[in-house]
């Protein structure tokens, strides 16, 4: 015999309770899968990011400026801590793409003719690098090429410094600077209408009159260099060249988004598995307690024949371990599969040369470790009871449970209640801890659903806010440089433009004590109708006539309040420095923003009426004509069409949310079914004899089902409000955890979400109740009554 008799017993017992065991194993498998998913994703993302950065020399410090001679590069290189310097030209362009009516926006970046840049090197996906001195070739970002179905040798037209130029795509590339590609000012990527292009430096410098000059610089730092120091010195050097403020990686947009995702995986890696393993531990506790209680006499016999208490304990632990093994056997491939789904979701957002989702052995080992711990912790009290059971004691069957009058009866309401209900209530009151834990577990299922839908609600709300309350315009354009406000009237006269309002953006540094942030100050008219200054709760805050209105988050970061002053250092034109009042704050959703009355901003900038953008309402019928006109307008550097942003959102984020929602649904159903099925089966096993007796005495199937399932119905119904509240609390926690400079989630949970969570839990509970009810219908009365237990 290969297996010892005791191990055979373990296997057969498990087989006997396969329904229960698989319910527990499934819940645990979800925890394992989620753990493996988020930990492996965390490591994979982190490793992919680090290798990409390293191999392609992602810079450490980035700075834009107006214009500086190339000779300055040598002085920048002398800054202590700087290892490598890459100067270049970066310009926004308005482009037209074959097959796309509307104008798109591009960013042109120079690469040295005939050699690779020393920093932010490009990964060539397809085609070739630029031929030296070619002035009509570009390398295009893969996301843009894919979104527009372009191919090598296709051409795009760009308005380069006022002149339309055809550019041929000779290579499709990826850059560590643009893993996440987002148009400045947007809140979601729009790959179709925003692309990054690389072009020979000679061609670009000629076109933009930047001969022997640059307007952008990236630095690679020595190990151990002080980044703030380098940034400070670089800012000082660039000041008189129109420096727009240097930033480290943590303020680099693409890097921020990737880091954000890594952080999110880190949080989820703790949170979600804890819920599932916690519920699994609880279920194991219930199952093992029941098993061990029903095997008191077997345990006694084992001990009487000389099996030691430890051997008996270990025997039950092996049963737990087999359940854990089953959970791992399902959870590990599950984690792999989720990984593949998530990788596909990431592929839409993050552009890595190669993203490999790897399952790490160490992750599997720790998944196994924590599952074993969860399993054993769950089963501990039951196993300890088996270990402690004195052999002589166990010979006598478990004494009948002692019942006492319920609260209801003590309140004198007993006579109002039918006996069946009394049975149910007494049963519930007899196991207060078990009842409470069942409730918590079912509540967790509801809360997982609420939480899953909360993200959707929150994002929906955010999008409504963004696209209807904040961006009330249909289209916005931005210029390269500030232009006289006469432009407003020219735009206003364009075909289809129903209304046009000016905006003025100034790059600035805000300083409060030692704290600084680089922000763009947006000047708008106080009577404007196309930009809403809307708080998370939907309330508008009026723009004060003087002083700044800033994002609440920015106020937090700078540690200032309304009424305080900050030092504003404009980084453009005359670069005025002035103390400005924080006149109001705005609880907005994304970024760190600052607004000012347009006239006040002009006064601050000591300038006349100029603008850098126009927001418009557009007649949809004349849209095409307007597009054509805009494509040929040299000053226009960027066109934002609200509709495109919304579409792009639907294609990326919304779809990812849908996938997440279905996965969430699956998880919640697993928990709900697991808990309800488990409780029903256990009650049936514990009370089969009692119920059979009732049947013999003439109770109908329906009546005994009511006794068994009524208990669960009460627990489920009581758990739902708790679950909804718990879901709300989790959502609140998520909101605080995600309260970042990049994004803030509004705590919005619709009634539909609550209704949906409640409905799913009720359906799942009913379904599992019905499964158990079927076995109740097949209750073998004679067999049940004959058996001694």
């Amino acid at each position: 015999m290969i297996l010892s008799a005791l191990n055979r017993k373990a296997l057969r017992d498990l087989w006997q309770m396969k329904g229960l065991a698989s319910a527990v194993a499934t819940v645990m498998a979800c925890g394992v899968a989620l753990f493996i998913l988020s930990r492996s994703m965390l490591f994979s993302l982190d490793l992919t990011q680090r290798t990409y950065y390293e191999r392609y020399d992602f810079a450490d410090v980035f700075a834009g400026l107006k214009r500086a001679p190339n000779t300055l590069a040598a002085r920048i290189a002398e800054i202590p801590g700087v290892a490598r310097v890459q100067t270049r030209i970066v310009v926004p362009v308005n482009i037209s793409v074959p097959g796309l009516d509307e104008p798109a926006t591009g960013r042109l970046i120079s690469v040295p003719d005939g050699r690779e840049p020393v920093l932010n090197r490009l990964y060539l996906r397809e085609g070739r690098f630029l031929a030296p001195l070619a002035d009509d070739e570009v390398l295009a970002s893969e996301a843009f090429v894919t979104a527009n179905n372009l191919q090598l040798q296709d051409t795009i037209a760009a308005v380069i410094n006022g002149r339309m130029k055809q550019l041929r795509i000779v290579g499709i590339v990826l850059s560590p600077e643009y893993i996440y590609v987002i148009k400045p000012g947007d809140i979601v990527p729009d790959d179709k209408h925003f692309g990054v292009f690389w072009m020979n430096e000679n061609a670009l410098s000629t076109a933009y009159d930047l001969d022997e000059a640059f307007n952008d610089v990236s630095l690679g730092l020595l190990r151990g260099a002080s980044e703030p120091d380098v940034i400070q010195r670089l800012d000082d050097l660039l000041e008189k060249y129109g420096g727009l403020g240097a930033r480290g990686r943590r303020d680099q947009l693409s890097h921020q988004f990737v880091d954000n995702e890594i952080e999110q995986n880190r949080n989820m890696g703790m949170f979600a598995p804890t819920i599932f393993l916690g519920v699994a531990a609880f279920l194991l506790n219930v199952v093992m307690t029941r098993t061990i209680n029903s095997q008191r006499e077997q345990i006694a016999a084992l001990k009487a024949f000389g099996y030691s208490s430890l051997q008996v304990g270990w025997h039950y632990v092996t049963m737990v371990l087999m359940i854990v093994a089953a959970a791992l056997a399902a959870g590990i491939p599950g984690g792999l599969w989720f990984g593949r789904v998530t990788t596909q979701m990431y592929a839409k957002l993050f552009h890595f040369p190669e993203f490999q989702y790897r399952i790490y052995f160490s992750v599997i080992a720790s998944a196994a470790g924590i599952s074993v711990v969860a399993g054993i912790v769950g089963a501990l009290t039951a196993v300890v009871r088996a270990v402690r059971l004195p052999p002589a004691e166990a010979m006598r069957p478990e004494p009948p449970a002692s019942f006492s009058p319920t609260l209801m009866e003590r309140l004198g309401l007993g006579h109002l209640v039918p006996p069946v209900l009394l049975m149910i209530v007494r049963q519930l009151e007899r196991h207060p801890i078990k009842t409470a834990l069942s409730m918590v577990a079912i509540a967790l299922a509801a809360s997982v659903l609420v939480l899953g839908n909360f993200f959707q609600d929150s994002v929906d709300y955010m999008m409504t806010a963004q696209f209807q309350w904040v961006q009330k315009y249909d289209m916005a354009i931005a210029t390269n440089d500030d232009v006289a406000d006469r432009a407003l009237y020219e735009v206003g006269r364009m075909p289809g433009v129903l209304r046009a309002e000016p905006t003025r953006r100034v790059a600035a540094r805000l300083r409060a004590g030692p704290r600084t942030r680089l922000v763009g100050i947006t000047g708008i008219r106080r009577d404007n109708q196309l930009s809403g200054l809307v708080n998370m709760d939907g309330q508008e805050t009026p723009l004060p006539p003087d002083g700044l209105m800033i994002s609440k988050k920015l106020a937090e970061v700078l540690e200032v309040n309304v009424g305080d002053y900050v030092e504003v250092e404009a980084l453009e034109d005359k670069r005025p420095k002035q103390r400005v009042l924080i006149a109001a704050t705005l609880q907005d959703f994304t970024g760190l923003r600052a607004y000012m009355d347009l006239d006040a901003l002009h006064r601050l900038m000591r300038e006349g009426p100029v603008l850098t953008g126009v927001e418009m309402l557009v007649d949809p019928l004349q849209q095409e004509t307007l597009y054509r006109e805009l494509k040929n307008t040299p000053q226009v550097a960027a066109v934002n069409v609200k509709k495109h942003a919304m579409d792009s959102f639907d294609k990326t984020i919304a779809e990812n949310l849908r996938i997440m929602k279905s996965i969430n649904l699956l998880f919640a159903v697993v928990i709900a079914v697991g808990v309800v099925y488990n409780s029903a089966r256990i009650s049936l096993a514990e009370r089969g004899r009692e119920l059979a007796t009732l049947r013999v005495m003439g109770f109908t199937r329906g009546e005994i089902s009511a006794i068994l399932l009524g208990e669960l119905a009460i627990v489920t119904l009581a758990a739902i409000p708790l679950g909804l509240a718990l879901g709300h609390a989790f959502a609140w926690y998520m909101c605080t955890a995600f309260d970042q400079e990049l994004f803030r989630f509004p705590l919005v949970i619709t009634n539909r979400t609550y209704a949906w969570a409640a409905t799913v839990v009720i359906i799942a509970a009913t379904a599992s109740g019905l499964i158990v009810r079927r076995s109740l219908d097949h209750l073998d009365l004679v067999a049940v009554l004959k058996s001694r237990e």
């Binding site: 015999m1 010892s4 008799a5 005791l6 055979r8 017993k9 057969r12 017992d13 006997q16 006499e297 077997q298 006694a300 016999a301 084992l302 001990k303 009487a304 024949f305 000389g306 099996y307 030691s308 208490s309 051997q311 004195p390 052999p391 002589a392 010979m395 001694r788």
Partner: protein, 242 residues
């Protein structure tokens, strides 16, 4: 005392002044009130007494399942009352075979597996199939308990108890749940073990008829031994009827 007589009367168990008190909340239940008892190697003893008189308690103490409140129990030259839990476990594993009123078979294991459960951990076990043959169940070794009658189950339990070749076989109302015919089959099995293997055997019963097959009958009442009868001739189990 002559040498051979002394050898014949080797004492396996020697209990002195054994009392057992259960504390049930306010009340103390005196299950045993000072028991003095010797069991000798190879003999067949029946403990006879009404339900609740303390028989099981006594047997459990002898078998190392329970320990007395006061008094001492010697197993051969060792003092059982001084054993800790681990030592008691070893003692049960190596020396004692139990048979219970309700068989206490493991329902998920077949007959032969139920026996293997014990031979797996025994020091000097018989072949499990062999021991099932001893109780005339050679044909049913692969049946699960649910597929066996009560008497058959009890015989599996006996096979399980003797498969380790224990020094003592302790049976607590082995026929309590059985009808006469089946009970006799079970008693025959016990009788055969006692005769063929020479295992010291103690059988608890409240059925006076069974006492007739014993070497000695120990009467227990209200936690005390009231008398000990020595049967001059033992009646074979097959002749019993009740």
């Amino acid at each position: 005392m002559s040498a051979p007589a002394a050898a014949e009367r080797t004492s396996v168990f020697a209990a002195r002044g054994v009392t057992k008190v259960y504390h049930m909340g306010e009340v103390d239940v005196h299950a045993l009130r000072g028991i003095d008892l010797d069991l000798y190697a190879g003999e067949f003893v029946v403990l006879l007494g009404a339900s609740g008189s303390g028989k099981s308690t006594l047997l459990n103490i002898l078998g190392g399942l329970d320990s007395p409140t006061a008094g001492s129990v010697h197993y051969r030259d060792r003092e059982l009352t001084e054993f800790d839990d681990a030592a008691l476990t070893r003692y049960r594993r190596d020396h004692v075979g139990f048979v219970f009123q309700f068989y206490n078979l493991i329902p998920s294991l077949t007959a032969v597996e139920n026996v293997s459960l014990i031979t797996d951990i025994a020091r000097n076990p018989m072949d499990p199939v062999e021991s099932l043959r001893l109780v005339n169940l050679g044909e049913r070794i692969n049946h699960f308990p649910a597929q066996l009658s009560g008497g058959e189950q009890q015989r599996v339990a006996i096979a399980r108890a003797v498969a380790k070749q224990p020094d003592v076989l302790l049976c607590d109302e082995p026929t309590g749940a059985l009808d006469v015919q089946t009970g006799i089959l079970v008693l025959e099995a016990i009788e055969r073990i006692n005769a063929e293997l020479g295992t010291t055997t103690a059988v608890i019963t409240h059925n006076a008829v069974i006492a007739e097959m014993a070497d000695r009958v120990i009467h227990v009442s209200a936690g005390k031994i009231t008398s000990v009868d020595v049967n001059t001739s033992r009646r074979p189990a097959s002749e019993l009827d009740w």
